[in-house]
């Protein structure tokens, strides 16, 4: 017994330490001192604000056809600009935590990635909006070069780690799909001038979109969910075998789906979409079991948005399956495809990613601003840096905007689309206001 410590005697030993005891200090350094993830997160949020405003302007006359150059540009500002930037920033911070190893890459390479990514997205979006496809292709190539750095960093860190569950594997799988998506995008841009691919561009575009949406984003979410949800709710990851099987199902279904979309083969599309949807459903079951173990009973806005986003993704997978059931050769259901795209991108993915960001951004800011003062002076807790009212306002506006937008896109009616666009933009404004409130705490560091 330690001197005078009878009230706090060590509990009986017996429970085994987890496998990852290779990190006995429990210390995970902030990647790039926390600055690098923050740069990605801030760039992503700026892109969110711009994309939401652009979407609102574009929907004043209803939802434009999704292949309209303006919509393609908005989609690229939203996907690689907003969602990917945020996921890269969060991933660079989260990956060492999950894998229990510092990133196996020099900070200089990560900063190079940040520059390539932000400049590349800007060129890509401007090129697509203005119909300058060479410019867009160059931007895409810069983004792809950046993803190569991310993929190599992920591979090296994964190999150094001993953790091999769904959370760990999801980083590796997602990095591979991201690289494939960006390279396919560059190939599409070159094909537009050279015409070397013997398939219709629209089919290739659908395949490219699904490589990114399901390959990178859904794969990542299928893994990190089982790290983030227990961490933020004080729960335990449950059904790990199911979570892993669900992740593998997605990995198996996606290549089949992508091939089916590229060659417009209905059987392949249905098979791939079915396996992929089953994978997403499996992850949903494992998530429900994990959530049931939580000790923090009241879910805050960030976790609530994250879970709602995952549920919307499940719904979108079913909608996608319905679209896949349409026979090849029939006239495409343009309205349905637009509604499906909005449900996935503005709905499931955005809610899940922003929900995750609502937790990660205050934490990163807190670590930089107040971490060094802990134990030396009174400091606020990380969750107190944000405004609960603004977070709730964002979630309501975003949810209402999404319902209106999807209704407008599916029905072709003008006013729900217009209202949805502006509601979504108003939600983005509330989000950015809250984010600025969190970020100003960095000034407290001085």
């Amino acid at each position: 017994m330690d001197t005078g410590s009878s009230r706090f005697a060590a509990p009986e030993a017996g429970a085994r330490a987890p496998v990852a005891a290779a990190r006995p200090g429990g210390a995970v350094p902030l990647t790039g001192g926390g600055r690098l993830p923050l740069v990605f997160l801030i760039a992503g949020q700026l892109a969110f604000g711009l994309a939401a405003a652009w979407l609102a302007r574009a929907t004043t006359a209803g939802v434009p056809p999704y292949l309209h150059p303006e919509m393609v540009a908005v989609a690229h500002l939203w996907l690689p600009g907003f969602l990917l930037s945020v996921c890269l920033g969060a991933g660079y911070q989260l990956m060492p935590v999950v894998l229990g190893e510092a990133l196996r890459v020099r900070d200089g390479w990560l900063w190079t990635h940040a520059v390539l990514h932000t400049a590349g997205v800007a060129a890509l979006v401007c090129g697509l909006a203005g119909g300058r496809y060479v410019f867009a292709g160059l931007g895409g190539a810069a983004v792809a070069a950046g993803t190569l750095i991310a993929a190599l960093a992920t591979l090296r860190t994964f190999l150094a780690s001993r953790r091999r569950d769904a959370a760990a594997w999801s980083f590796l799988f997602a990095a591979g799909w991201l690289l494939a998506t960006t390279l396919a995008g560059v190939a599409l841009a070159i094909n537009r001038r050279q015409g070397f691919l013997p398939l219709p561009a629209i089919h290739l575009l659908h395949a490219h979109a699904h490589l990114g949406l399901a390959g990178y984003f859904a794969t990542l979410l299928q893994g990190v969910t089982f790290q983030l949800v227990p961490m933020f709710t004080m729960g335990e990851a449950r059904r790990p075998c199911l979570a892993m099987a669900a992740l593998l199902a997605t990995q198996a279904g996606l290549p089949v789906l992508a091939a089916g979309l590229a060659w417009n083969e209905r059987a392949l599309i249905l098979t791939g979409a079915g396996v992929l949807a089953a994978g997403i459903a499996g992850s949903g079951v494992a998530l429900a079991a994990t959530l049931a173990t939580r000790r923090r009973r009241r879910l805050d806005v960030g976790v609530r948005a994250f879970v709602i986003g995952l549920a919307v993704l499940g719904l979108a997978a079913l909608a996608g399956l319905g679209l896949a059931g349409k026979a090849a050769g029939e006239a495409p259901a343009w309205n349905g495809i637009a509604a499906y795209g909005l449900l996935v991108i503005a709905g499931g993915l955005s809610l899940a990613v922003l929900g995750m960001l609502a937790k990660i951004l205050p934490f990163l800011v807190w670590m930089r601003a107040y971490g060094p003062r802990v134990g030396k002076a009174p400091v606020p807790i990380a969750t107190a840096l944000a405004s609960r009212k603004l977070e709730k306002l964002w979630l309501w506006l975003h949810g209402a905007g999404l319902v209106c937008l999807v209704t407008g896109a599916a029905s072709g009616a003008r006013w729900p689309a217009t209202a949805g666009g502006w509601l979504l933009a108003a939600g983005a404004a509330a989000w950015l206001g809250n984010s600025a409130r969190v970020l100003r705490h960095l000034l407290a560091r001085a």
């Binding site: 001197t3 410590s5 210390a27 989260l94 134990g375 030396k376």
Partner: protein, 112 residues
């Protein structure tokens, strides 16, 4: 045998741990049940044995450094060391009544 000074210093160390909070949950490391033991020698050197709620806690280093700083600031402490241990693993049963109330755990259990 513990001297009164040593005993009061142990109390002070535990109080200091009560002022170091988990940044996510807003609950002190003492109420979370993370402090496994406190040893104080006659010279005022303190050794705190503690754990974290999760092996993958991203704030682990900040929390342990915070405990060390809070203890070192106490009068009568000549030096502090924090030993992070993983055996036995932390379990929710170590939460104090205060922590359970803050997390809304007991209310939910009673309702279920």
């Amino acid at each position: 045998m513990n001297s009164p000074e040593t005993t009061s210093l142990v109390t002070a160390v535990l109080d200091a741990c009560g002022r170091v909070h988990d940044p996510e949950f807003g609950v002190s490391v003492r109420d979370l049940g993370l402090i496994y033991g406190v040893r104080v020698d006659e010279g005022g050197a303190v050794r705190v044995t503690m754990t974290l709620t999760s092996f993958y806690c991203p704030a682990g280093e900040v929390i342990t450094e915070g405990v060390k700083s809070a203890v070192e600031a106490l009068a009568g402490v000549s030096g502090a060391e924090v030993a992070l241990v993983w055996e036995p693993l932390w379990t929710p049963e170590r939460l104090s009544p205060v922590a359970r109330e803050l997390l809304g755990w007991d209310a939910a259990r009673g309702a279920s």
